[in-house]
Amino acid sequence: MRHMIDPLDFSKEEIGSLLTLAGSICEDPTAYQNVAAHKKLATLFYEPSTRTRLSFEAAMLNLGGHCLGFPSENVSSAAKGESVADTIRVVSCYADIVAMRHPKEGAPLRAARYSRVPVINAGDGGHQHPTQTLTDLLTIQRRKGRLDHLTIGLCGDLKFGRTVHSLIKTMARYEGIRFVLISPEELRVPEYIIKDVLEAGGIPYTEVRSLENAMPELDILYMTRVQKERFFNEEDYVRLKNSYILTAEKMKAAKPDMAVLHPLPRVNEIALDVDDDPRAAYFEQVQNGVYVRMALIMTLLGLPDPKAAKEGN
């Protein structure tokens, strides 16, 4: 049984197949509308996240399946003190697949060790967010036509931004990738990502403080929000939340085919005047997120691709 806990749980080839399937779904969604009929997805969200939860539920409904679950910890048995291990053993009896978001790092892995059905990590604290990474990869692939030989700028909260960590780990497996890490000193990428992923893999990277200076060389600009919920200290949050704001003026220095990605929600780090720029890819990302989650659910449940079957005939 396969789970999706860390983006590296899938090989490069498996991710390639997943993105191909997502692309196929994107071209003809109706062909997939009954693929998961009678299957159930449980969304266990110990931390509120309307966007990711709705994306998972939309994905399952688009496949003809059903959804159940809870949207926050205080309406679940976790509020009574039930462990993750016990909860997943119970939910395994109700659903065919589980998507879990939890504020504690490693909770979905803990769940996977006790689950009888596939578990998808829908975000665990500041740690990993693999389905956002798959969404990012699909968006990059569709925008740039490739996942290799790209200069990727990551901007904002690179310390607690789990989407950033997952994206770096995954993109580091492709050839010719270069990272430009743009953040204030306090929100730098954690040392273990630098040492174990970038330096260990010989991946070129630079750490800079200026978004403006980095802009001209980027193929992809990945913006992130400074997340209030990751700070223990309100003062630190207030001091850093306006660190980097992308505006139409700053976009003038960017390549004409650069793509701006953002995992959303944004607060003020991308000004509204960037939204109409054709290089803004963040709302497209949201739609891609549904397609890639559909592809992931199909893959983990071992559901055959109806289009591949037709082509085979």
Binding site: H102, A107, R110, G126, Y192, D196
Partner: protein, 145 residues
């Protein structure tokens, strides 16, 4: 020099950092074992140790129940000598284990292992030789004393 009888069969854990053997006995499960014959020597003179002192643990008889892998993690200078019929038949430095289970706790307050009941504390060696919590991937930086 304090004299402790030589053991005929068993193991000698030598070159332990002075003052840490009591904690080590706890981690190795020696203090919980009520039948093993064990000698602890603290602050023995040592020419090799930079402090000039070391601790030694001698375990008489069958020592297969000891998890010696943990020694390499705790102190790379430790040696383990196997004694048979009064003779030292093997002397080695234990190799670092691939994983540490319930030896140390993850110190990351954001880690699931910090709140989940009955959750084993598991660290695995990463590609750079450092141990990381399997749940949150935080590097293990503090060794128990």
């Amino acid at each position: 020099m304090l004299n402790i009888d030589e053991i005929q069969n068993g193991i000698v854990i030598d070159h332990i950092k002075a003052g840490t053997a009591v904690g080590l006995m706890e981690l190795l499960g020696i203090t919980q074992n009520t039948s093993a014959s064990v000698a602890l020597i603290q602050n023995a003179r040592s020419a090799k140790s930079p402090t000039g002192r070391k601790d030694i643990i001698k375990v008489e008889g069958d020592a297969s129940w000891l998890n010696l892998d943990v020694l390499a993690y705790l102190d790379p200078n430790i040696t383990v000598t196997t004694i048979r019929d009064g003779q030292a038949v093997q002397k080695e430095k234990p190799r670092p284990p691939r994983r540490l289970v319930n030896i140390v706790r993850c110190r990351n307050p954001r880690c699931i292992s910090s709140i989940e009941e009955e959750c084993d504390q598991i660290f695995e060696m990463s590609s750079n030789g450092k141990y990381r919590c399997i749940y949150c991937e935080q590097e293990l930086s503090v060794k128990p004393e």
